[in-house]
């Protein structure tokens, strides 16, 4: 089993990785090679702006060669040609760098997909009778036996057995997880390792379409398709390219009225600087980097469309348990009945909880120790533990001289026949109204008091919800609790709405209702009964630990199984869209300055007086045109880190975002090239090139 956990380790430091991607020399070298391969016009035609640039580069190159062959002035056309080719190359390089990271990860995943030989069962009821069969030949529906030390050959559903499985190959998490038949932990993933015991697995994936296969394809970008938004942007850019092509070509006719029309080289330079090469060159890199950012927080999106939809989400459906509150309820208070000391109640509660292995039960022991210094009591001889069960809803301890019971108030009352004093009944009522769960503690036939079990809201979650609200996103807490309890926790966590006593149907109905109002809904889920809701939601984040059905229904899988990350998904989606918009705005705004550089230069022969428009006081017509072309090429490289990292995103309202980004990328886009072109012109002049 190859160790690939490094590349898959969920790491918070991973956020700053694009910078390191650029510092990685090996990656850059491979990207440079890949960039050259991408010059193939056949593949470049998917990008109309850069394809046009390449065609024009070829034209200018031909002109330079012709000039050199016929003894004409070839230096200027050659310089323009070089920089036009570099423009194309920088664009393909940006895409190659973005793809590079994913490719490296795909390599390590591929190593996990080693050829294994499966033990295919011949009869479903006989584990001893199996025949070896290559994993790649397994069909859906076949049963295989996997024993300790075996790799699970393909994706499947556990039909028999319980085993601990190391899923590091897929999730990067090396602690083994339990897989068992039935329930929500029955899905297993091909390529993961059974560490103990055995499983009988029914294969569910056809060869070549396992989770690991799909993951590799996604990470590599092989399955990458343009997202709706990208397509729309492509149309805009293609349209602008056509418009500027018209403007430049017709210039030949217009300029011939009074003197010679500008040379083809000059017109080519004008065209390339005007068409939106900056965003055209970076568009696909931005998309790939967005998917990659998700992957870095260990979320696998099955399509770019889902990432984009995440940015549009209006409503987040969040499960209470594990997302808003820490996994489980915890003991938070003892309420003794009249005449009972609190310490006596705590001691009794601790004894009665010895048989409760649930986190709630353990929290009672911990709380008793913390509050009253009660150590876990040693079991006296003759003691009998009554374990907690979902049917009895209580646990207890039978000592020779006393019987302790702890559990749901009605269950304890029924089991012990103890009457609940009115004061205690009031305390129970109070606890419930505050959103906590009351448990009763009884010794023999008498009620000693109540324990309040409380949901602990995750620290910091309230602030995140407030940030979401500023972004215009409503949060809805989903819980099976009764309305009273749910409302109390909702108020503490600061969610906008509550869906209490929620059944799967209820959830589905809620999603449909929100969508009917035109809202986009995101939710996280893991269980089989979450599957319909996950499929219905616009963004469905399934947990890796969840069932196969849930993983199939969602359009994203969280390998860390942390539903809170739904919030990060939304932020990454928004960041992707903002980055695209910002660079588009920047690219288009750049045109203003380029006109002031090139227009006086190209008409210098016909109308020398147009130098009045040469606001930047560029040295000569040639240097002005060359400087504009060089700026146009270099700005792509300069923006690659931004494209890969994404524009800095702050959770705030649309109005504030628009104001800041418009100022930065709109106004900045108008001003930056004035400075850049002037500096390049100065450098060209100082170096004596023109």
């Amino acid at each position: 089993m190859p160790d690939i956990s490094d590349s898959l380790q969920p790491s918070t430091a991973g956020r700053s990785l694009p910078g390191s991607a650029l510092r990685d020399r090996g990656l850059l070298g491979r990207a440079a090679l890949e960039a050259l391969r991408k010059l193939n016009p056949h593949s470049l035609i998917r990008n109309p702006v850069i394809f046009t640039t390449e065609a024009v580069s070829a034209l200018v190159t031909a002109l330079a060669i012709e000039a050199a062959a016929t003894g004409g002035a070839w230096g200027f056309p050659a310089a323009i040609a070089v920089w036009l080719w570099l423009t194309v190359l920088f664009a393909t390089f940006a895409e190659a760098v973005a793809e590079g990271r994913g490719r490296a990860r795909a390599e390590s995943l591929r190593r996990a997909r080693t050829e294994t030989v499966a033990k295919r069962l011949l009869r479903p009821d006989d584990r001893s009778l199996w025949q070896p069969r290559p994993a790649a030949a397994l069909r859906p529906g076949e049963l295989v036996l996997v024993e300790a030390g075996d790799l699970i050959p393909s994706d499947g559903e556990v039909v028999e057995g319980v085993a601990s499985v190391n899923e590091a190959a897929v999730t990067g998490e090396s602690a083994p997880v339990i897989r068992e038949s039935g329930g929500d932990r029955s899905a297993v993933t091909g390529g993961t390792l059974v560490v103990s015991d055995w499983l009988v697995v029914r294969i569910t994936a056809a060869p070549g379409s396992t989770f690991l296969d799909r993951m590799i394809a996604l990470v590599e970008g092989a399955a990458r398709q343009k997202t709706p938004n990208e397509i729309a942007l492509d149309i805009l850019l293609a349209g602008m390219t056509i418009i500027f092509l018209i403007a430049v070509v017709t210039l030949v006719g217009l300029a011939s009225w009074n003197g010679q029309p500008p040379s083809v080289t000059v017109l080519a330079a004008l065209l390339i600087t005007l068409i939106p090469t900056t965003i055209g060159g970076l568009l696909s890199a931005i998309g790939i980097a967005g998917m990659d950012r998700l992957l870095r927080v260990n979320i696998l999106a099955t399509s770019g469309r889902a990432v984009e939809a995440a940015g549009d989400v209006d409503v987040l459906l969040l499960d209470k348990t594990g997302t808003i509150t820490l996994g489980n309820r915890q003991a938070a208070g003892f309420h003794p009945a009249p005449g009972i000391a609190e310490r006596a109640l705590a001691e009794a509660a601790a004894l009665a909880s010895l048989g409760d292995e649930t986190p709630e039960g353990r929290s009672i022991l911990a709380f008793a120790r913390a509050q009253h210094g009660i150590a876990a009591p040693a079991l006296p001889p003759g003691a009998r533990i009554v374990p907690f069960s979902a049917e009895t809803r209580l646990s207890g301890l039978d000592l020779p001289d006393a019987r302790y019971r702890k559990g749901a108030v009605d269950a304890v009352a029924r089991a012990t026949g103890a009457a609940t004093p009115p004061a205690l009944a009031q305390a129970v009522e109070r606890i419930a109204r505050a959103g906590a769960t009351p448990l009763a503690v009884a010794k023999d036939g008498a009620m000693l008091g109540a324990i309040a079990l409380k949901d602990i809201v995750k620290p910091g979650i309230r602030e995140r919800f407030a940030a979401l609200r500023r972004m215009g996103i409503r949060t809805v807490m989903v819980t099976g609790d009764n309305r009273l309890t749910a409302a109390a926790i909702a108020a503490e966590a600061g969610v906008d709405d509550v869906l209490a006593e929620a059944t799967p149907e209820e959830k589905l109905r809620h999603i449909r209702a929100a969508q009917a109002e035109g809202r986009l809904v995101a939710m996280a889920g893991d269980g089989t009964n979450d599957a319909p809701a996950l499929a219905q939601a616009d963004v469905g984040l399934a947990m890796q630990t969840g069932t196969q059905a849930a993983r199939e229904a969602g359009n994203m899988v969280d390998l860390d199984s942390d539903p809170t990350k739904l919030i990060e998904v939304v932020e990454i989606g928004k960041q992707l869209l903002i980055t695209r918009g910002a660079l588009t705005t920047f690219s288009i705004a750049n045109d203003v300055a380029k006109y002031f550089a090139i227009l006086p230069a190209i008409f210098a022969a016909s109308y020398p007086e147009l130098q009045a428009l040469n606001l930047m006081r560029l040295t000569s017509p040639e240097s002005a045109i060359l400087a504009a072309v060089i700026f146009n090429a270099l700005i792509i490289v300069a923006l690659v880190p931004l494209a890969l990292r994404g524009v800095r995103y702050r959770p705030e309202g649309a109005a504030a975002l628009l104001r800041r980004n418009l100022l930065l990328y709109g106004l900045g886009g108008i001003l930056a090239p004035f400075l850049g072109i002037k500096l390049i012109d100065l450098a060209l002049h100082l170096l004596g090139i023109v």
């Binding site: 805009l236 869209l577 918009g581 288009i588 309202g653 649309a654 628009l658």
Partner: protein
């Protein structure tokens, strides 16, 4: 520039805004088929028209049916007008004995009036009979304007509700806009013009003895009411060849101010109607504010350029206080000429009260650029609003991504299909204007029409195709327009500028109407703020204007810098 001049400009614009507010509300009411105070009088006529034509005004049309009805109606209008112009010599109401028009000129003229352009390759008083003017040209003045308003209303309805399949009924919109908006305003305005001294008669020319003892024939005709709709419908086709410079067409400054009011009030009012119909009045006001801002800037630019005068003339000792008065009339003054020029080109009207050919280079650049920007500032009746909405969608799409959501406008998502159709429409202007101009600048047959050398000559040709494509109709002058090449290509330019633009816009309306209307929230791009107004203005200049900069650099800008250098052609 003088304070008094700016006060005049402010006064006229204030009157326009004061008129646009109630008119906008009125148009919205009419568009929704609700009753207005005009209904007791005009309601029976409306119902009679529907009954005669067998139209159910309540029956909605999808975008295709609506567009086909519009195209069919305009094709029929073209055929009728063409026949009328060709046959006018043998038809009645022809006291001057005007002969029928030649095929190319009749084609050009018919297209021109059907497309609301009113490019006049003919001189009205000598080439068109009273019947042609009244039953042909004036009828088209009404219905081409109503067509534009109908299209704008159809697009407006696409934003008003979610998941709609119908955009209204073209025939009902056409009848209602004509009957309840254009006709009543024209009657009132026409009477005002008669009071101000414009002729309104079916008589022919009168002959006058001049002081030198010569004889002069002064043409008369049904002028006043044609001029009313000429401005209200942003048509611009004058009764007389020299348009509003003619004393019978522009008798005095009051009449000029009234004409400026008439040609701008409906385009501005439609913004407010839009706001009312989509249930977001602030949105309507933002569109109006952007348009008004450009009108003010353009007026200021022309006013400044013209009052600064021609440096070559000033060097000869001309009184600098007058500024450049060539081609202008003292009865209007620089301020009203500047406002008239800015609005007539801003609204695609095309009436003129000064000769553009004689403006200073920068003064002439402004009207040219205003048309090139797409006739959206504020644009022709209806066409200005739908053209502006195309820009709004592009602005929303480009910058809207920067708030981190799929861009939406008034709850409608702007996606690939809308962007494609908007770009298709946006392509029409540069392709037609620059394509035909470039072709003409190398074709000897076209160049023969040019009177001037140097950059001014280029500006003249560029202006002709710009005016035709923008459906403006104003002429720069200096161009012999009635040649087969120009008649036909300018006719095509008008056709493309109107219908090659309107059809994708209508397809866009269909696509937008079908989308759900999303609720607004804190995460939605705010489109009714001053910030968005600034963004929209930037997008209009950059996406709508940059492609024309090279042509402007070679035309008016070159002329200006060359003039400063003391060179003439």
């Amino acid at each position: 520039m003088t304070l008094l001049g700016w006060a005049q400009i402010a006064l006229v614009l204030a009157a326009v805004l004061a008129g646009a507010v109630p008119l906008g509300r009125h148009i919205a009411r009419v568009a929704e088929g609700r009753r207005t105070i005009l209904h007791p009088l005009l309601g029976p006529i409306e119902r009679g028209l529907y009954a005669m034509a067998g139209i159910d005004p309540g029956k909605g049309q999808g975008w295709q049916a609506y567009t086909l009805a519009m195209l069919g109606f305009n094709a029929a209008g073209f055929a009728l007008l063409y026949a009328l112009l060709r046959l006018q010599g043998v038809l009645p109401l022809n006291p001057q004995g005007v002969p029928g028009m030649a095929p190319a000129l009749a084609f050009n003229t018919a297209i021109s009036f059907v497309t609301n352009t009113n490019w006049q390759a003919y001189s009205g008083e000598v080439a068109a009979s009273h019947l042609s003017q009244m039953a042909g040209l004036t009828v088209q003045n009404f219905v081409s304007a109503a067509t534009g308003m109908a299209l704008a209303l159809a697009l407006t309805r696409a934003f008003a509700t979610g998941r709609a399949t119908q955009l209204g009924n073209f025939w009902a919109d056409l009848v209602r806009m004509t009957l309840y908006v254009l006709l009543p305003l024209s009657v009132v305005l026409g009477l005002a013009f008669v009071a101000l001294g414009m002729p309104q008669t079916l008589a022919g020319a009168v002959t006058a003895e001049t002081l030198e003892g010569g004889r002069q024939s002064i043409p008369l005709g049904p002028v006043a009411f044609q001029i009313a709709i000429k401005h209200l419908g942003t048509n611009g086709g004058g009764f007389f060849g020299v348009n509003a410079l003619h004393p019978f067409e522009g008798p005095d400054a009051i009449a000029t101010a009234l004409q400026i009011w008439a040609q701008t009030v409906i385009p501005f009012a439609l913004c407010l109607s839009f706001g009312a119909l989509v249930g977001n009045r602030r949105q309507g006001r933002v569109l109006l504010a952007v348009m008004l801002g450009f009108v003010l800037l353009a007026t200021g630019a022309i006013y400044a350029a013209e009052t600064a005068g021609n440096p070559l003339h000033l060097a000869l000792g001309l009184d600098p206080a007058q500024g450049n008065m060539e081609g202008k009339d003292l009865r209007f003054g620089q301020a009203l000429v500047a406002l008239f020029t800015a609005t007539t080109t801003g609204v695609s009207c095309g009436a003129v009260n000064a000769m553009f050919d004689s403006l200073t280079p920068l003064g002439g650049l402004v009207p040219l650029f205003l048309i090139q920007l797409g006739e959206v500032l504020p644009g022709g009746v209806g066409s200005g609003l739908y053209g502006m909405l195309v820009f709004v969608l592009l602005a929303v799409f480009v910058a809207g991504l920067m708030v981190g959501r799929t861009p939406e406008f008034l709850g409608k998502k702007v996606q690939a299909r809308e962007v494609k159709l908007a770009m298709l429409a946006a392509l029409v202007l540069p392709a037609t204007i620059l394509g035909f101009t470039a072709l003409s600048m190398v074709l000897p047959a076209a160049l023969a029409s040019l009177a001037n050398q140097g950059p001014h000559g280029l500006t003249e040709m560029l202006y002709a195709y710009t005016s035709a494509t923008g459906n403006n109709g104003s002429a720069f002058g200096g161009l012999t327009a009635d040649t087969p090449w120009l008649d036909v290509t300018l006719g095509l330019a008008m056709l493309l500028g109107r219908f090659a633009y309107a059809v994708p816009v209508m397809a866009m309306a269909g696509a937008l109407a079908a989308k759900p209307k999303l609720p607004e929230g804190a995460g939605t791009l705010p489109t009714h703020t001053p910030l968005f107004a600034g963004l929209l203005a930037g997008v209009i200049l950059i996406l709508g204007g940059l492609q024309f900069l090279p042509s402007l650099a070679l035309g008016p800008i070159a002329e200006h810098v060359v003039l400063l250098a003391g060179k003439t052609y």
